[in-house]
Structure formats: structure tokens, C-alpha cells
Subunit: 476 residues, 2 copies
């Protein structure tokens, strides 16, 4: 508990407690436990968890799984042996997202250097809000953000790591409205005219969630049409802006998407930037999925124009397999907008009479207080692979996607398979052979969305996917 | 990259990429790397990092540290040996928050079972938004939240883990306004009357940050007086409510604090709940710091009345040393308020035609999409220590705080020390002997805020603190 030396007679200290012997563990026992757990992690989660000859998941119905896990928290502690058995069970019944047949989400694969960085992060357990308690990570975050900004095309700017792409997108919306109406921070949205932001119908749902959370309301999100490939149509953006203005709303932000969630489409950023420039609107690019393509000389043209954005959200935990979560919000701004918009100068944390340059205390840039260190895993992976190694991964992903397309063209019957996606999904999960997500889209019924993100994938894995879909559906 | 089987001719697949050999690492090399890194973690971060005979930090000026770390990200990758040296350097120059002389923040200490849970979490790298990809953690989170709710005094309810207490507090504010004005989600704050929320001047700054982020503006935060111990004065709360109403604002929420940031005070919840009941206001309790006191039969009376709250924010990463971050938002609500307020039914993730009970897909309760697994570390620690073991830690913390008070009373000169807090702080950090935070408060100048959170602390560590403050300041 807390105390302070100037006035110690706090009521909460008055309880008649007796001093107990320290419950601090024996250091040898601590190390033994951690060594044992680490051994289990290596055997079960890493070796078996990434082996194509093991199941990607061990399906259990919820009620059965509850029994198997014995989740209830009791008053009595358990023995080291019981704890190790619990660790094994947790891993056994968890989905192996590093498995070569896990295609279910926009993240997949297990990068050993990233995992090493994450283990170090956990062991150091700090928060990068002040240089004082996170000197390495404050400097490292700055360097990593600088590198990501350079790939966007900016030689200066600002940024921060957020707990996921949704919150990065919310930051962008909040910054855009603050820049236009700084009064908003103090006086709230009631002091402002009705605002309008624009994004395509293929955008991630976090734009709508963010508009609701930030008090704008989902009505403030104006939906722009996309073409049949899923790309925003700039002419319709123009039309929607005029429409909003005619209705008395003030347009303030366009959120373009580089790599949409379902179709993987890249909005035409240059044309959208032209529209933004014409109307004086903040351009945010949600590149949570597609941002990593900037590493590839061959494919980065898909994001041409991104350097004209005001803000970019980019999640290296997706296509770069940096581990959940690693989401950067990047800004072209050099006017300290982040700190002005979010800062509150807490005197217990951001003392101005410190013995070092307090500009290094970056915690007031964020709406959180304590936050996780998200830079080390990406930094260490980058140091190990180099930009070249990461570029190769991106190129490999594109090559495998291309291979998949060619192979599908060769096979009969894949058009028909779609209508049975939920049935195939149930079969693959219960067998544990692979995991791939399905969803409807527009006038199309359920279809499988193939995600190529795992850096260890090969053509053989793609062949497996196709063969397995055929096998699972052969009686349908 | 993504693909979909119904219409494969996406532009982004047309780039002329050639298939590359798989960059997937050799499994033996992967295991060797991780074993080596883990060895470094055990030696440097755990053994040395928690040893009182080692420094709590190795102070370097920012420019020197940048040189030492060689942070720049290059095109070429590095050898395994270089990577291991980088891991050592990162740990060497990081602050050891598990060290017995780290008193600087509201978190401290290294719990081995929590760390084990965190390593497993990282190795499994999943997001608990669907049962499909996080079966173990969806069920485990439910069980852990149920246990925390039971300690609050609720036999039913809802909840979710958030990325930190600030965001938990924001959730509470958003839920309270949505419950009163469900229209807000769609139509925004402009459709609502001016709102007012109430909290004491000792509250955490996240209440103000949250009000700004959520579009309410900091003007909507009405500051209630606190007594000299830092506790909210319920009579002044009544007065502020009348004042706000007289000014045309609609009161909707009171945020009480159980364990304030600087003084560690516990607001009188029963008296505050009476006021809330009279005015029909949502009662939120920010128990980020103090919530863990509910585990102690001896001290839980400090939170008497918490069962009358509508929502509680509780961070086991603070007083229970569960590791950053572990912040629960608990709700008494059983009407699915979380999902109604935040849900957006993304059809690619929350398909309704799944083969299992989709009520288990909890991801639509949150404003994030992907999020981290924060329950395993707490669950595993609880299984190992039992409720009794955790209770003992809380009682120990109170006993040590009491011991500190008694020892301070015996020593001359500690009243005077305060004015030199910044100087003492610089000296201790540069020597690396300990870390403790200081701040001004009210009419008092800078004073040291002693935080007793590390479960391994003993009276000897408290004696060290006092002796060290005397030693560092003997020439002043």
C-alpha cells in the first residue's frame, strides 16, 4: 500500500496488522519453476505447435473443456506439479496460431526473435511512460517509429504504439477533430457543429465503433462506395462530402484502407489524397493489415500516396508476425499534436523538475496511463532479419497468394464449395486439421477467406489447403 | 496476403512475383535461440534483477544509452550471437521493476507464476474474441471475472479485461451514458443534453483524459472536494450535483476512488452510493489500485459499499503483481449492456451460423477488435497461491506500511527531507540503489510516495529505504 512521509497517519494504515514472514519465494524454486514451464512451452507450444504433423486445434465442446481445465479459483494454493500440469493443459487445448495450417485470422506464425523479445518484455515488466523507468524502451520506441515513418515516406513526425488497430484508428479520429476544434478537449462535442467522417463500405468495423465511443455517433460515419474489388471510389467520396455539407455537417476526416479485412483491397490513396487536399480534410490510412507491404520494393506501389496522409495505423502483429499486440499510429505532425490533444500533465508522474530532459517522458501522448512495451519484439525481429529478410517475407506472401489463385483455377468444383463453408469449417475444426475463416460478402454467400501471413508457409501448405477442402467436402 | 476463393483476380495478386524458398527457420535453431534467450532472462532479469545486492537501475544519459544500444534498424540481419548480445544489453540498461528497492510505481515485484502465465500467453499468441480461436481463454476469462465479481459482492454480472485502468474507466463512462441515452451510440453527443460526471480532486487523471477522448470534454468533470486524508466528501458531492443541475447539466455518473494515486485514500463508498441512489446516478468505483484489498478479510472494510456500484475497475497488475497489463472492468449489469453498447456484429468475425454457441464469442463486448489474453497470468498465480496466499500478500503490505510509519516517527529530520526530494531522486537513480517516486500535493512541496506492492518485501527493505534516504541526504 501507499504511504507518504509528510503525514503518515492515514486511516488505512491504522488497521491492527501484525508483520508476517515474507512470502517471497526461494530464488532456486523460482528458477526451477520457470525452467520447467519454459521446457513445456518449447515442447508443446513451439515444437508441436508449429509442426504440420500435429493438430492445429484440439476441439472440445465448452462444457467438456470447462471440466478438463478445472478453472475454478480456490482458497488453497496448488503444488508445483499441479501447476505444471495446468500449463500443459492450457497449451494442449489452445489453438496453435503458429501452426502452418492456421489461416483463420490476419495474424499467424511464430517468429522466434519476436517471441524472444516478448519474453524479455514480460520479464522486465515496465511501462514506457517515463524515461526514468523505461530508458531503453523510450529510446527504442522512438527509433522503431522513426523507421516505420521513413517507410511511409516521412523524414519527421510523431507516433505511438497503441493496444491494437482499433484504438490506433480512434486516436486518428480524435486527433483530427482536435486539430480542427481544439476547444473540443475542454468543452466537448456539444460546442462543435455536427461532424462527418468518410470511409468505404469495406472499412474495418473499428471506424464505426470508434465514432460511437468518441461520442460522434455512428451517424457521423458516411459510407463511400467501393468498386467490385473492394477499393474506395474517389468520385463517390466527392459526392458524399457534398451530400454531408448539404445536410449541414462539417467533413473533417477520410479514413482510407490499405488492405481491407475481407477482400484485402488497397484504396487508391493518391486520388483520395487529392480529394482531401481539395476539401482540407485529415487523411487517415488504416494500413493495419497492408502497412507491412511498404517493406517490399516490388509491392509497395499498392500504397502509393500514403506519404500524403496525416496519420497511418500499421499493425506489424499481422503481416510481420510480431505478436499481439503491435500497432503503430504514425503521424506526419511535428507540432506536438499528440501531447496537446491527450496530455493532462499528471504531477505525480510527469514532474517538471526531474534531473533529465522531460521531453523523453512520452506517457502524456496517450490516453492510457501505464501501457505495455510493444516495440522490443519488432525491434529484435528486425535486427535479426534485417529489412531485407522482412521484405522477403512480404514477397513470399504475395507469391503464395498468386500460387493459390493459379491452383484454384486448375481445380474443378471450387465455385460450388462456398455454399457449404460453415459445414467444412465445423469438420476441419473438429478434426483439427486446419483453420480458415469464412464470411459472406455483398451478394455472395459464405466463402473462405485465405490469409497468407505465416512467414514459414510453403507451396506444400497451399496444396494441403486445397486438398483438404476437397477431402472435407467430397460427400457434399 | 489475403485471397478469397470466389473471385481471385485481385489486382494486388497480379504483380509478377516469383516463388521464393521458404524463409521458415530450422526448428532446432529456433529452439536453441529461445533456450539461449531464456537463459539470459533467468540470469539477468530474474536472478540479478530481483537481488538486493544488484543495482535497481544502471543509469545512463539518453545520448550515451543510444550509443550503447545501437538502436538503428538496418537492411542486413544480424547473427544469432549479436542478437543474444542485444538481449543482454536491453536487460542490463532496463530498470528492474521486480527489484526489492523499486518503489517508484504502483506496480512492483516479479511473481514467478504470473511470469510463467505470461510466457505461455506469448507463445500461444491469440486473441480472446472468439471461442473458435481462444477456447481456453474465453472460458478462463469468464471464470476469473466471476471470481473478481464475487469478491466485489456480486453473484452475477458481466465484465471484460481492458488494456489498463484508464481504458477501464473510459468504458464505465461510456456505458453509463449509453444506459441513460442509448441514442448516443448512433446519434452522438449532440443529440443529448450537456452531461456532468463527478469525481474527487484526488481522482486519477484518466477520468479527465477519458472525458476528453469520449467527446464529453473536461468541463463535464465536476470536481468534488476531498478531506485532508484524500477522501471524497459526500456532502460536497451533493452540493456539486445541485450546482451542475442549476447550470442546466444532467448528472449521470459518479466515479469514486478506492486507493487514490498519491495518498492511497479510500473514498467512503456507502455514503457516496446513498447520494447516487438518491439522484439515480451510475456509481463507478476506480479501484485500480485498491481493489486487491478485497482479498483481505482484515482490510476489505476499506471498500465497504462497493457492492452497490454499477461498475468497478480493478488492476491486479498493481497490488497483486500480475504483470502489465491486467485490468478488469466489472459490471453488475445482466442485461448485456456491454455488447449492446459496443457491439457492431462484424460479419467476418462473429458469424451467426457457427457450429457452436456464439454467445461464447465475447469480442463484440469491447471497442477493440483483436486484444491480448490478460487472464492466464492472474489465473495461474491464483491457482498457485490460492486466495489465502494472495490475502497474505495484502496483509503483509499493510503491515509493512504500518512498520514504515512507526519507523519514520522514530527518526529525526524526515519532515525536512521533503524539500530536497528531486535531489535525492537524482542521486538514488544515478547510483541505482533504489527508486521511489515524488510529487507535490496541495500546499505540500515535493514528498516521496512510498508504494508497498512487491510481494517479497520485508522489514529489512523498509529499513534500507529509510537508511538510504538519510545517507543520500546527509550533506543537505
Amino acid at each position: 500500500m501507499e504511504n507518504d512521509s509528510y503525514s503518515a497517519h492515514r486511516t488505512y494504515l491504522m488497521a491492527d496488522s501484525k508483520l508476517l514472514p515474507s512470502p517471497g519465494g526461494d530464488p532456486v524454486a523460482v528458477e526451477t519453476l520457470l525452467q520447467d514451464v519454459f521446457g513445456i512451452v518449447v515442447d508443446e507450444a513451439i515444437r508441436k505447435g508449429t509442426s504440420a504433423s500435429e493438430k492445429v486445434c484440439e476441439w472440445k465442446e465448452p462444457e467438456e473443456l470447462k471440466q478438463l481445465l478445472d478453472l475454478e479459483l480456490q482458497s488453497q494454493g496448488e503444488s508445483q506439479e499441479q501447476i505444471l500440469e495446468r500449463c500443459r493443459a492450457v497449451i494442449r487445448y489452445s489453438v496453435k496460431t503458429g501452426h502452418p495450417r492456421f489461416f483463420n485470422q490476419l495474424f499467424s506464425g511464430l517468429d522466434p526473435h519476436s517471441l524472444a523479445g516478448r519474453i524479455i518484455t514480460e520479464s522486465l515488466n515496465t511501462s514506457p511512460y517515463t524515461y526514468e523507468i523505461a530508458p531503453v524502451f523510450v529510446l527504442m520506441e522512438e527509433e522503431v517509429l522513426k523507421k516505420l515513418r521513413a517507410l511511409v515516406g516521412w523524414s519527421s513526425g510523431d507516433g505511438v504504439f497503441c493496444p491494437g488497430g482499433s484504438i490506433s484508428n480512434m486516436y486518428a479520429i480524435n486527433l483530427a477533430r482536435y486539430q480542427r476544434y481544439p476547444d473540443c478537449k475542454q468543452r466537448g462535442l456539444r460546442a462543435l457543429p455536427p461532424l462527418a467522417l468518410f470511409t468505404s463500405k469495406e472499412c474495418h468495423y473499428s471506424i464505426n465503433k470508434g465514432a460511437a465511443f468518441l461520442g460522434l455517433g455512428t451517424d457521423s460515419v458516411r459510407v463511400v462506395k467501393a468498386d467490385e474489388r473492394g477499393k474506395m471510389i474517389p468520385e463517390d467520396l466527392e459526392r458524399q462530402i457534398s451530400l454531408a455539407e448539404a445536410e449541414g455537417a462539417v467533413p473533417f476526416l477520410v479514413s482510407a484502407t490499405s488492405g481491407t479485412t475481407v477482400l484485402g483491397a488497397f484504396d487508391p490513396l493518391d486520388a483520395i489524397a487529392d480529394v482531401c487536399q481539395r476539401h482540407g480534410l485529415w487523411l487517415h490510412v488504416d494500413a493495419a493489415w497492408g502497412g507491412s507491404v511498404l517493406l517490399s520494393q516490388t509491392h509497395r506501389h499498392l500504397l502509393d500516396g500514403i506519404q500524403r496522409a496525416d496519420s497511418v495505423a500499421w499493425n506489424p502483429h499481422k503481416l510481420l508476425a510480431a505478436g499481439l499486440q503491435c500497432s503503430a499510429l504514425l503521424l506526419q505532425d511535428t507540432s506536438n499534436l499528440l501531447k496537446r490533444c491527450h496530455g493532462f500533465q499528471a504531477s505525480y508522474l510527469f514532474q517538471q523538475d526531474k534531473f533529465y530532459d522531460v521531453a523523453l517522458d512520452t506517457g502524456d501522448k496517450v490516453v492510457q496511463c501505464g501501457r505495455r512495451v510493444d516495440c522490443l519484439k519488432l525491434w529484435l525481429m528486425w535486427k535479426a532479419q534485417g529489412g531485407q529478410g522482412l521484405e522477403q517475407r512480404i514477397d513470399q506472401a504475395f507469391a503464395l497468394a498468386r500460387y493459390l489463385v493459379e491452383e484454384i483455377k486448375k481445380r474443378e468444383g471450387f465455385e460450388l464449395v462456398m455454399e457449404v463453408a460453415p459445414v467444412l469449417k465445423e469438420r476441419m475444426v473438429k478434426e483439427g486439421s486446419m483453420m480458415i475463416g469464412y464470411q459472406p460478402h455483398g451478394t455472395h454467400g459464405n466463402f473462405f477467406r485465405m490469409v497468407v501471413a505465416n512467414p514459414t508457409l510453403t507451396c506444400a501448405d497451399i496444396d494441403f489447403l486445397l486438398n483438404e477442402l476437397e477431402r472435407l467436402g467430397q460427400d457434399l
